[in-house]
């Protein structure tokens, strides 16, 4: 019962000129809620622009959960390692987070995502 597929139009994020990297593919799991631009859009989550090194829960005007604001007092900035831990299991690192994402268990995929976010942040400076 294999599906016969007709892709009516390109689906997500526009057709890339080259195959997406592993990190870019992983970012598709974040894409519906997080952009890489300057933020202040209508998305449900804050922008991931310059996320590595950025202060935790610090996007102006964004309504962070009390849990993440408490977390920010102990962990003031997103590091590569901290992002990796968060992406692995958001609820475990920040119990009560409002981010409804249950994590990426594959360590290589996580690493590719965090590196992609780091690179995307640098390129948008």
């Amino acid at each position: 019962m294999a599906p016969a597929v007709l892709l009516a139009t390109a689906a997500v994020a526009g057709p890339p000129s080259k195959p997406p990297s592993k990190g870019e593919r992983a970012y598709q799991k974040c894409y519906s809620c997080h952009e890489l631009g300057r933020g202040a859009g209508q998305l449900e989550g804050p922008t991931l622009r310059r996320i590595v090194g950025r202060r935790v829960a610090a996007e102006r005007g964004f309504a962070y959960s009390p849990a993440l604001r408490r977390f920010a007092r102990r962990h003031p900035r997103w590091t590569l390692k901290l992002l990796d831990r968060y992406v692995a299991n958001p609820e475990a690192l920040v119990p009560g987070t409002s981010m409804n994402f249950h994590g990426i268990s594959d360590a290589a995929e996580r690493r590719a995502l965090v590196e992609y976010l780091n690179g995307a942040g640098r390129s948008s400076r």
Partner: protein
């Protein structure tokens, strides 16, 4: 609310509904409504629910990659694993009596046959990419339509397995989807802040802009007359679109800075909407313009979808791993 939380700790308790809509312009006391709270496996992170043909309740255990089956007569729960990587979001009952699941983890539509317990999986095409599949609905011709929050919607013909994927005109955001009594299908876009009607023949989406800019249309449901009710996450409005007159009516949810998430219209045309800010679900009667408040069974209940069967409304609490069942029918 403490008595609710205390009693809800055990499975399958019967509670009298406790309307507590202090800031509502009007309140109503549902003297005949009762609630029962069922505890699910810890960490299930129930997302959506649907009535099954045999009186049980299906739910998506999003974090545990399973379809849950709750027997409300006994409180017993079973989990049907959906496969490695599964993270199911939506579940509905199809016209064939099966559970149809939009599985964001598998990037696939999954059918569960309750008689044979066979699972059938339709993967999205590779070139569609990761869709972040959200919710599904069947049109009047038996076609399964679904949304993907990364910017797509699609159709699956259960008879042939043929699948087509379409891009939302505004990109990312397609979320709730529902069919009207006449069999038409509408969906809403959370990031795109629009309602859209799908042309069932061509698949094209005709956008219907709600009056409130950037309102964050999250979920949609149809009433018995074919009007579309929309829960607006950003604005905190409950809005109604009347296709026959192309008009909108909006109601601000009572309370401080409401966040309207789920919406469902029951068989009496009572409109149920969850409010994350109030940690409650509100039942709105459009005829009397009254709201009835059903507090969550615990802190941060976070009801992300609502569905029911005649005389019953199901409130899946993603934050407490519980399902609250509201019995609305009058006894006798």
């Amino acid at each position: 609310m403490s008595f609710v939380r205390t009693l809800a700790a055990a499975a399958a308790l019967v509670l009298t509904a406790a309307p507590a809509c202090a800031q509502a312009p009007k309140t109503d006391t549902p003297a005949t409504a009762t609630t029962r709270v069922f505890q699910l496996p810890e960490g299930a992170r129930v997302h959506d629910v649907a009535p099954a043909p045999d009186g049980t309740i299906w739910y998506t255990a999003q974090r545990q990659g399973a379809l849950g089956i709750l027997d409300p007569k006994t409180g017993k729960v079973r989990h049907i694993p959906l496969g490695e990587g599964s993270a199911p979001h939506g579940v509905i009952q199809g016209p064939d009596g099966a559970a149809w699941i939009t599985d964001s983890g598998l990037n696939a539509i999954v059918r569960f046959d309750p008689k044979s317990e066979k699972l059938t999986v339709w993967k999205l095409p590779e070139d569609a990419g990761y869709a972040n599949l959200n919710t599904g609905a069947f049109d009047g011709d038996g076609i399964h339509w679904f949304t993907g929050q990364n910017g797509i919607y699609g159709r699956l013909d259960p008879k042939t397995g043929a699948m087509r994927i379409f891009s939302d005109p505004d990109g990312r955001g397609p979320y709730g989807i529902a069919a009207t009594p006449s069999g038409d299908v509408y969906y809403v876009s959370l990031a795109g802040s629009h309602l859209a009607k799908i042309d069932r023949k061509t698949g094209a989406a005709a956008i219907v802009e709600p009056p409130t800019p950037a309102q964050g249309a999250r979920r949609v449901w149809a009433d018995s007359k074919g009007n579309l009710w929309v829960s607006e996450w950003n604005s905190g409005n409950l809005s109604r679109y009347t296709p026959a007159t192309n008009t909108w009516t909006m109601w601000k949810l009572p309370g401080d800075k409401p966040k309207a998430y789920a919406v469902y219209v029951d068989e009496r045309d009572i409109v149920w909407v969850s409010d994350f800010a109030a940690n409650a679900v509100l039942a709105f009667d459009p005829r009397t313009q009254t709201w009835t408040k059903y507090p969550g069974s615990g802190e941060g209940a976070n009801v992300r979808q609502i569905l029911g069967a005649p005389g019953e409304v199901y409130l899946p609490e993603s934050g407490t791993d519980r399902i609250m069942v509201v019995r609305t029918a009058r006894p006798g």
